[in-house]
């Protein structure tokens, strides 16, 4: 058994205390996010695990089985911290401040034996460095999970179906149209056709940044599904550059009604339903302006 492992056993209390005071003295500590008792409990657990793992003699490979409980505790801590909104600095300092605590204890214990002190400190350094890398990895993973969840939420909320007129629905699509999105779009559109008894649906793709063959395929599917329900589909919002791209790609949209703007699609829908929109007097317009 090496000196550090012995030290971790015999002087656990002192080390824990100096580690805690290191953590608490850090200017950046967010005592609003975590209570002292909780911090104390976490640190105690980690130190116990570390003492056990180091007692096995393995001080290099943190991916070995005896370090599993430690990496688990660390991952747990950093993932919760990522979700609670801690900064990377605070999370990183958690492990790094332990380094100082252990080094201080070693210095007292091995006073005068410089060579051994150097060896032990270097070993602790290496070990805690790799542990702090683990902390960072999981911290970033935790943050990424938050981002993924948010992007899911965005795609969920950005597909409203609007009834613009009796019998006419409009569906502005914003963002990239992937398989999952198409499913949501198609479901809500078909449901709304049933609910309102509409016979015309306008899909506006002004907000779709790029139309490639996959997006086109999804659009065609949506249109055919709408047709099966007995409603006609108009695709609007095809920008000039997207029109060119679609032609070059060789996508055939010729049997689908397409319009450049939502206004002209609405006009087409009006004429298909034999609705006339007139300006009543010279100043007030009803419906939409031409």
């Amino acid at each position: 058994m090496n000196t550090t492992a012995q030290l971790l056993h015999s002087k656990k209390k002192t080390i824990l205390e100096s580690w805690m005071s290191n953590q608490l003295s850090d200017q950046g500590l967010r005592d609003d996010l975590i209570s002292n008792e909780e911090l104390h409990k976490q640190s105690d657990e980690l130190l116990n695990g570390l003492a056990r793992a180091m007692a096995t003699g393995n001080t290099d490979n943190i991916y070995a089985a005896e370090y599993e409980p430690i990496t688990e505790i660390l991952s747990d801590i950093s993932i919760t911290r990522a979700r609670q909104g801690f900064s990377p600095r605070e999370t990183g300092m958690y492990v790094l401040s332990l380094k100082k605590a252990i080094a201080d204890a070693l210095e007292q214990e091995l006073a005068g034996q410089h060579e051994q002190l150097y060896k032990e400190v270097m070993m602790v350094n290496r070990l805690l460095d790799s542990l702090s890398v683990v902390t960072f990895e999981t911290f970033i993973k935790g943050r990424e999970e938050v981002i993924l969840r948010q992007s899911d939420e965005i795609s969920e909320i950005s597909t409203p179906v609007i009834k613009v007129w009796e019998g006419i629905l409009a569906l502005p699509i914003i963002g990239t149209l992937d398989s999952a999105r198409t499913q949501v779009v198609m479901e809500s559109l078909l449901q709304e056709i049933v609910n309102t008894g509409s016979n015309i649906a306008i899909l506006d793709i002004s907000g779709v940044p790029a139309v490639d063959s996959l997006v086109a395929q999804h659009l065609i599917k949506t249109v055919s599904a709408t047709r099966l329900m007995g409603a006609e589909c108009i695709i609007s919002g095809i920008r000039a550059e997207i029109a060119q791209t679609i032609v070059h790609l060789g996508i055939d949209l010729s049997n689908i009604k397409t319009k450049a703007s939502l206004a002209s699609a609405l006009q087409l829908a009006f004429s298909m339903n034999r609705i006339e929109v007139k300006s009543h007097s010279k100043s007030t317009t009803f419906g939409f302006k031409r």
Partner: protein
């Protein structure tokens, strides 16, 4: 950059847009390049479970362009000629990805061997010529 998930497609497209804006490419040419890139990157995800893309700005006789190199370690393409035909697809798609991408960009090169992966290089010049 590495492509491993469907979310990477959007990120990658934005990168391509950044680069093509940097060299002053017009909107139509930008859209063409981005669409072609999107086709190729989706192929990579679908058939090879992801891969790597390198975005470079290159220049030739006072004209700038963007070069994209897609490399994957997927199953490869057995018959490239067949894959380049309109409407041919081993998946359930329109079969326009590869031939469409070729029509959208200025220079297109595909190398593939079954079992060894695929490498596609496309170049689009600033003025689209």
């Amino acid at each position: 950059m590495q492509i491993v998930r469907e979310q990477d497609v959007v990120l990658f497209r934005n990168r391509v847009r950044e680069y093509s804006t940097k060299i002053g490419m017009s909107l139509v040419n930008q859209t063409k390049l981005i669409t072609a890139a999107s086709e190729l990157v989706r192929n990579m995800l679908k058939y090879a479970n992801g891969g790597q893309v390198v975005i470079e700005i290159i220049s030739k006789s006072a004209q700038n362009g963007v070069r994209l190199t897609f490399t994957d370690q997927g199953p490869g393409i057995a018959d490239i000629q067949q894959a380049m035909q309109d409407g041919f697809s081993t998946g359930k798609s329109l079969g326009l990805g590869l031939p469409g991408a070729k029509r959208l960009v200025n220079e297109f090169d595909i190398q593939s061997k079954p079992g060894e992966g695929t490498r596609v290089t496309v170049i689009h010049w600033k003025h689209g010529r």
